[in-house]
Symmetry: C2
Subunit: 339 residues, 2 copies
Amino acid sequence: LLISDLGEFGLIERVRRGLPTPGTGVVVGIGDDVAVLRTSPDMFFLATCDIQLEGPHFLRERITPYQLGRRAAAINLSDIAAMGGVPRYVLVSLGLPDDIEVEYVDALYEGLGEEAARFGAEIVGGNMARSSSGVVVDVTLLGEVEPDLMLLRSGAQVGDLILVTGTLGDSAAGLALLQRGGGGSSPEHADVVKESHLTPTPRVREGRVIARSRGATAMIDLSDGLASDLGHICERSEVGAIIRAGEIPISEAMRSVAKTLEWDPLSWALFGGEDYELLFTVPAKKVEELVASLRRETDTPATVIGEIVSKAEGTRLLDEEGDLVPLPAQGWDHFSPRG
Amino acid sequence: LLISDLGEFGLIERVRRGLPTPGTGVVVGIGDDVAVLRTSPDMFFLATCDIQLEGPHFLRERITPYQLGRRAAAINLSDIAAMGGVPRYVLVSLGLPDDIEVEYVDALYEGLGEEAARFGAEIVGGNMARSSSGVVVDVTLLGEVEPDLMLLRSGAQVGDLILVTGTLGDSAAGLALLQRGGGGSSPEHADVVKESHLTPTPRVREGRVIARSRGATAMIDLSDGLASDLGHICERSEVGAIIRAGEIPISEAMRSVAKTLEWDPLSWALFGGEDYELLFTVPAKKVEELVASLRRETDTPATVIGEIVSKAEGTRLLDEEGDLVPLPAQGWDHFSPRG
């Protein structure tokens, strides 16, 4: 049995089942993006890590070391953001081939440090090792959250509305441009989506506003794609969902790039992944106030894109023709062929 | 300027200088093996990570996944042990080539989980990604220590005696056998040293006994080699040291393998590295009681191998001919050619 037969989620679930029952200090253990630990009476401690490998995750000639540093930090910051947490401390493990110049490492750390500092976190440790096979960047981020403010994937209730911050699919459009080359898009639009892919903005401030509002019932960051990450919320919350295709926020830049590349913008928005926007659920009567707070405190738009329904109804998409169709969770799974 | 020109320590020092001054919550930041964080009033939080890459650190055909898991956990446990800390939580980042079988991952996690559990720690999180270039295992270990018991590299005083747990050089002898093939050593001796290299025993219990005794003034684990790691203590404590070659504990197994391979056992003991024994300094009047406690509570021997002297006297070796010679710190530096 090869790991590619199981996929990343299957493999993690298999590993989880093989581990002993977590101790009493573990509030959320393996299987979530973030471990939640009870290390002091009034705060939960958060720990997450994410590895970026040259080849599968990035190509050295297409991302500068500064961008790579920012991106590696952002991906982890986004995981803490999705719990409504405050990022605090960063540890960095690097694998470096011998032919790397010192200036490459300087710029990588500059990106890591700046991105962390933007959100109040600092680099406190790390190690470096010689790599015989490309650059490896593994970032561990530690943070904290008040127990009564923490948001999980579980907690969504039938009748809650489903919201996302920002726009979706920009990162996928940027990746497509980076992979296939420019070709026809306006330079401004191309730059916007490429930037979204290379240096996504983690929604740390937005996550805090959402958590402090006490209005949301569940939250996740969009790393695998809307369909896949919504699937995680539905699974953990034991609910279903209806997403209205026409309501999904899509940027002008992404729509224009999609047109140029003759790609369906909706499929990027649903399955593209790596947008690092927040997906969250809110009881209908609290939506207006929460959206207004977000806009006021962070200037970030949030859009209602659907509704939580019973588990029996499954997860479906109300498409642009007005038909309800099953929404497959085929986001990007690291060990399966891309959809 | 290539990273191989600076070496790992030079590169880390360069990175450290480029970072902003650590915040007030950071007791020990980048440059040490372990970050020490003030997250609650009565406990320091400890965080360390260590990346293991196929090729530079291990060869897939020479170490089983179970052994690799144990080793990856042990290396991190050893860092917490060196501060007198208690290991608590493990996060694991894996990079896995597509041709890896699920059973390989099972066995890797079995090794990680068992080694962690032996010392009271548990796996709470992790992520897995496809690797196009070999297996990558990056372990982050979180722990804690009482502020008044914590031991650092700084703190050694002139006149303190220098002690080590266990025997030195076994791991280097094991590595030599693994690299060159068996050839003549007795199977028992060969197995002992190979085991020392593949699955070293982190001295977590010994570190706690030493810390709780309040007898030691400084401590480090022997990952880079006695000469190099002693150099870290001397640098941070602003002292010098004299090591007596004839007192360095060397196992019968290592001595026999050295004879077979026609290698100098002393050079393995001084420069070999990866023994993961503890090196610590103790005022002379407290040595006897501390060595006895260690023996009683952990059954592990500790040996006096030298003495802390003034910084002006430098770091020297009293060799087997009775001559005092400079002791170069040429332990294994990940970016420099091995000595």
